[in-house]
């Protein structure tokens, strides 16, 4: 029973980290049709700089703010400086964003070196709730709370505000939306930057859940985030949440009860969804 509880909580916790990473990717793909291969690199950029700031100042809040803002700023530069010239040109988008992956990774190697780094856990989140002989760390519980709160805020933003309505309209038909006199450019820029901010934010809060990070973490998280988009469906908060939680739980339960399939359980899930519901479990 203790093992089951720890596995369940770990799965949910990992799921919320994946949710924070994948939401931005999903929204950008849904609204702007951009496959941002550098989304994982933005996660890594947030993790490195945000964690560095958090460790230096002993403030998780400041780390999140700096990590998220840095990722958002890089996202702004990417969108305004490059990607806006390549809307609907997916090959060019792939080349440009792949270029950013290399640039961002090499800059981080140059600044921070190549060794793995640990995440930051503030003193008030040290310790664990006892479960049997082991414990479930408080900071992991806090990630569940933060992830759930972010989910609710994003859902409210998407479903209950005018901006959210414009985003949804833009996803359904960009031409008609602009034909109604709505300027989609600031919405596109805002969505791209919000997605980047969430990736950087996830880098700081998720680093301790992932046991730390290194120069390869961005790539790894990008592939898992793509998995979340495939399973959950593209362009909605609900889809990202369902996909992220399913993958988070599957990976953790496989680690506990079926270690021999742990390495490919996420891909099994993706294959099943692609076979029976190719657009993802939650469609707009």
């Amino acid at each position: 029973m203790d093992t089951l509880i720890i596995t369940l909580l770990s799965g949910i916790c990992y799921g919320f980290v994946l949710f924070l990473v994948a939401t931005g990717l999903s929204l950008v793909l849904g609204l702007m049709g951009i496959v941002n291969l550098a989304h994982g690199a933005l996660f890594m950029a947030g993790a490195y700089t945000g964690t560095y700031v958090a460790k230096a100042t002993h403030s998780l809040f400041l780390g999140i703010l700096v990590g998220g803002s840095l990722a958002a700023a890089v996202g702004f530069l990417m969108e305004r400086g490059f990607l806006r010239f390549f809307y609907k040109q997916q090959l060019m988008q792939i080349l440009v964003t792949l270029g950013f992956v290399h640039i961002i990774t090499n800059i981080h190697q140059w600044i921070y070196g190549g060794w793995p780094q640990s995440g930051f856990i503030p003193s008030y989140l040290q310790g664990a709730i006892p479960i049997g002989d082991l414990g479930f760390p408080y900071h992991r519980l806090s990630v569940i709370v933060v992830g759930a709160a972010a989910c609710v805020i994003l859902w409210l933003l998407q479903e209950k505000t005018k901006i959210g309505a414009i985003v949804r309209a833009g996803m359904n038909d960009a031409e008609i939306t602009t034909g109604l006199g709505i300027n989609l450019t600031p919405i596109n820029v805002g969505t791209f930057c919000l997605g980047a901010f969430l990736a950087g934010f996830a880098g700081v809060v998720g680093a301790p859940v992932l046991g730390g990070f290194n120069l390869g973490s961005g790539q790894e998280m990008f592939f898992v985030a793509i998995g979340v988009c495939i399973v959950g469906g593209v362009g909605s908060i609900q889809g990202a949440l369902v996909g992220a939680l399913l993958i988070g739980l599957a990976v953790n339960f496989a680690g506990t009860y079926a270690q021999s399939i742990a390495i490919f359980v996420m891909y099994m899930l993706m294959i099943l969804v692609l076979l029976f519901k190719p657009a993802g479990l939650i469609t707009r």
């Binding site: 596995t7 190697q109 060794w115 640990s118 664990a128 742990a262």
Partner: protein, 396 residues
Amino acid sequence: MKKFRALLSITCLIAALIGFTMPASAAEPIKLGAIFGLTGLMAPIAEESVQGLKLAFEQFLPKEIGGRPIEVIYEDSSSKPDLAVQKAKKLVERDKVCMIFGPVHGGHVMATTGYLDQMKVPTLTLGTNTGALIMHRKWTWVTGGANPQCSYPVGVFAYENARFKTCTVLATDREVGHEFIENFAAAFEGLGGKVIQQQWFPPGTTQFAPYVAQIQKADFLATWIGDADGIAGFPTLRQMGIKMPIIQVNHAGALLSPKAVKQIGDSVVGIMTAGNYVSTLATPGNKEFVQAYQKKYGAPPGTFAGQGMSAAQVAMAALKRTGGDTTPEKLREALMQPTDTVMGHIEFTKDRGGINPIHIVQIEPDFSYKVLKSIVTRADIVGEGKEAKLKISVVR
């Protein structure tokens, strides 16, 4: 004027004659090559290795042998085995190097040494490396010995010195992980200990909680959490309240790098691990090497830096023995002789496997290393053909 012209002509004639009669190789540099993944995922390991090598050639080793200057050419494989082979070809065919250092990673080493074997270019790997190099290569010197030579003494230490009787295992499900754990377990169980559980997680795992939740009670936890991202396991083990002693049966890179352990943080304090070199060793010349390294790079040398220095010492000792003669057969003979290095006294078996100390250390709260025990082992090929395998034995 006529006198001056005559004098000039005679001078030119003498100069030409001297030039003609001197051996062509007299002023030619002795070229050594080094291939490391200076960019990509192997970069941190490569960076330390190259720092150790560079410092060795800049400050500690002779600048020339037999009147020939020493030149080291460094190449970046970008952590890609195919590129490592291309770089090896460049070093051998264009630069005409007589010896090569590196690469570090098992996959890269097997890829490059296949070619280097054909070309009869002596290659010195840094630290322990795959046992396949001893079994299947003829021109590779494994200066730190085969991988099993690192984990086997850990089993001996755990049973005889730490007096542990039972053990549970958590390790990366990779060939090298199995190589380390099998040999650790062989030593530990051979002496009377018992491995009560083995858990293997996929490479690249970030979710360790399910594995930690299933760890059974034992005297200690033996790990081989490999790869750069695999280091994620230690924070999770500590956060979830695993209190039993932990022995990482081989350092897997990061645990013996002072820079890396500081970055990983408190979760690695108290962990015991094993490797060829730590900066606190009392070996000949190590104190001076550590001081020079600290001055130049701002931190004590990690295991790869020490291995770089040691490999350079082995190579230069061999070149001294040949008097600067770089013919492969002469170098082979010279490389087989023992050398004192900062890693300790290195000898080689007839199959070029290093016989040298493995140091079992504990990470202190200030992230320095306390040497608990040093054990010398050797790896010998027993059996023939498909039955051939490495037998590890403790020398002292």
